[in-house]
């Protein structure tokens, strides 16, 4: 089964962002989480949907528990919980194929630099967290900052020892990736072709209509 087109997700993201900004009751956010969970189930990302719903419920329940005791925790948890519906729609784009995403964005005439930026943005978060672990392992291997006391005692040194390897890794990664991109012809003026079939079909229009109707119902009905 063909999944929805990436352009649909972008429109959905815009629509849900606008409504999300207009929502002012918690029940509306609850319902939009449910709606986006249905969307995730529809594109066969059941695990992600369940994870998001569980995270959201945990946050809301914890916020309820903290409500009259620690005001700060209440605010933080609520802020994180409120951003979950948007993160869910973004997830739809992230789990997809980046080659398809590039073609879809190219079709709506997004400039090439921005397409490349978005693709790197999506692909590089996991890489960076791996680098983070590698830097910490390197510190451990050299016996630096083996416990928390050392961390607290010289924060500037810790900062320097963490920042410099990170920057150097970033330089190396960008050099390598830049060379690869040029080798693969990303610099060329011609349009990029793609082996996948990408089109905006009836299914996308139906999905948009149903989603729009549902979110409108949530806003005006509740």
């Amino acid at each position: 089964m063909r999944k929805l087109d990436n352009r649909t997700y972008i429109i959905l993201l815009a629509v849900s962002t606008i409504f999300w900004f207009l929502f002012n009751k918690n029940i509306q956010i609850h319902l939009s989480v449910a709606l986006n969970a249905l969307l995730l189930v529809y594109i066969k990302e059941h695990n992600k949907a369940i994870k998001f719903v569980i995270t959201y419920l945990t946050m809301v329940i914890l916020a309820g528990l903290f409500a009259n005791k620690i005001a700060l925790m209440y605010i933080i948890l609520n802020m994180l919980a409120r951003s979950i519906p948007l993160v869910m729609v973004v997830t739809c784009i992230i789990v997809g194929n980046s080659s398809e995403l590039m073609l879809s964005l190219q079709k709506i005439k997004v400039p090439k630099p921005i397409i490349v930026m978005i693709c790197i943005l999506i692909r590089f978060f996991p890489v960076l967290s791996k680098e983070n672990i590698a830097i910490r392992n390197g510190m451990k291997a050299r016996g630096l900052f083996s416990n928390w006391k050392d961390f607290m005692r010289n924060p500037f040194l810790v900062y320097e020892c963490f920042m410099v390897p990170l920057i150097i890794r970033c330089i190396k990664l960008s050099d390598e990736l830049g060379a690869t991109a040029e080798l693969r012809g990303l610099n060329a003026d011609k349009k990029r072709t793609c082996i996948y079939e990408v089109y905006f079909g009836l299914k996308d229009i139906c999905a948009l209509a149903i989603y729009g109707a549902a979110i409108g119902l949530i806003y005006f009905g509740v």
Binding site: W20, L72, A81, M117, I120, L121, M163, I168, D175, A179
Partner: protein
């Protein structure tokens, strides 16, 4: 003509900018979470952008010296805006694009990115405008903004928010703190670059 061509961003530069900006975003996110969890709301409102500017500076200094072409601030601004959009404030993206354009105007001229003074000024202005940008909804659509926060904030939280983002004197204080902290960050970043990265001939 040749100069004009050299000054344009190539694909390689865009990839460099993207990777460094992701590092900056991660640092921003960690800073925001830490200041929110570990400090009082008042400290958070006054200092968090300044601390972001302080901690992101080394990455930014290396990035701007490595790329050193027009558009660096604009792309940084777009990335910052995208990050905050996903975090839940979509109105911030246009603000950040405007901030990026303002910083690009500051940086007009030949080889300004390698000039520490000009770059430092633009860097401080970037973070100061970022801090002031957070207060924009308080001035243009205050009612709606406060209404949308009513359910997720406590009474006290909203009062603190209005106290810090709703009055000119506090905004001025925030801007001054941010400029000072990010300028310090820039100087430290410059030193770190001289000490490690220029020695390794990586820039």
């Amino acid at each position: 003509m040749n100069n004009e061509k050299q000054n344009k961003l190539k694909m390689r530069d865009i990839i460099t900018l993207s990777i460094f900006n992701i590092a900056i975003i991660v640092i921003m996110f960690v800073t925001k979470m830490c200041t929110m969890m570990l400090t009082t709301p008042a400290f958070d409102y006054l200092f968090y952008v300044g601390i972001m500017g302080l901690l992101c500076a080394p990455v930014f200094v290396v990035m701007s010296n490595k790329v050193a072409k027009r558009g660096t601030y604009l792309i940084t601004g777009i990335f910052g805006g995208l990050f905050i959009t996903v975090m839940g404030s979509p109105w911030f993206l246009p603000v950040m694009i405007v901030v990026g354009i303002v910083c690009e105007i500051i940086m007009i001229g030949q080889d300004t990115y390698r000039n520490p003074k000009r770059n430092g000024i633009a860097y401080s202005v970037y973070w100061a405008l970022y801090a002031l940008g957070s207060a924009i909804p308080m001035f243009f659509f205050k009612e709606q903004y406060l209404n949308s926060l009513k359910e997720s904030y406590t009474e006290e939280g909203i009062k603190t928010l209005v106290r810090f983002y709703g009055s000119w004197d506090m905004l001025l204080l925030i801007a001054v703190i941010t400029i000072v902290l990010s300028a310090i960050g820039f100087i430290v970043g410059k030193k770190l670059m001289k000490k490690h990265i220029e020695k390794a001939k990586l820039v």
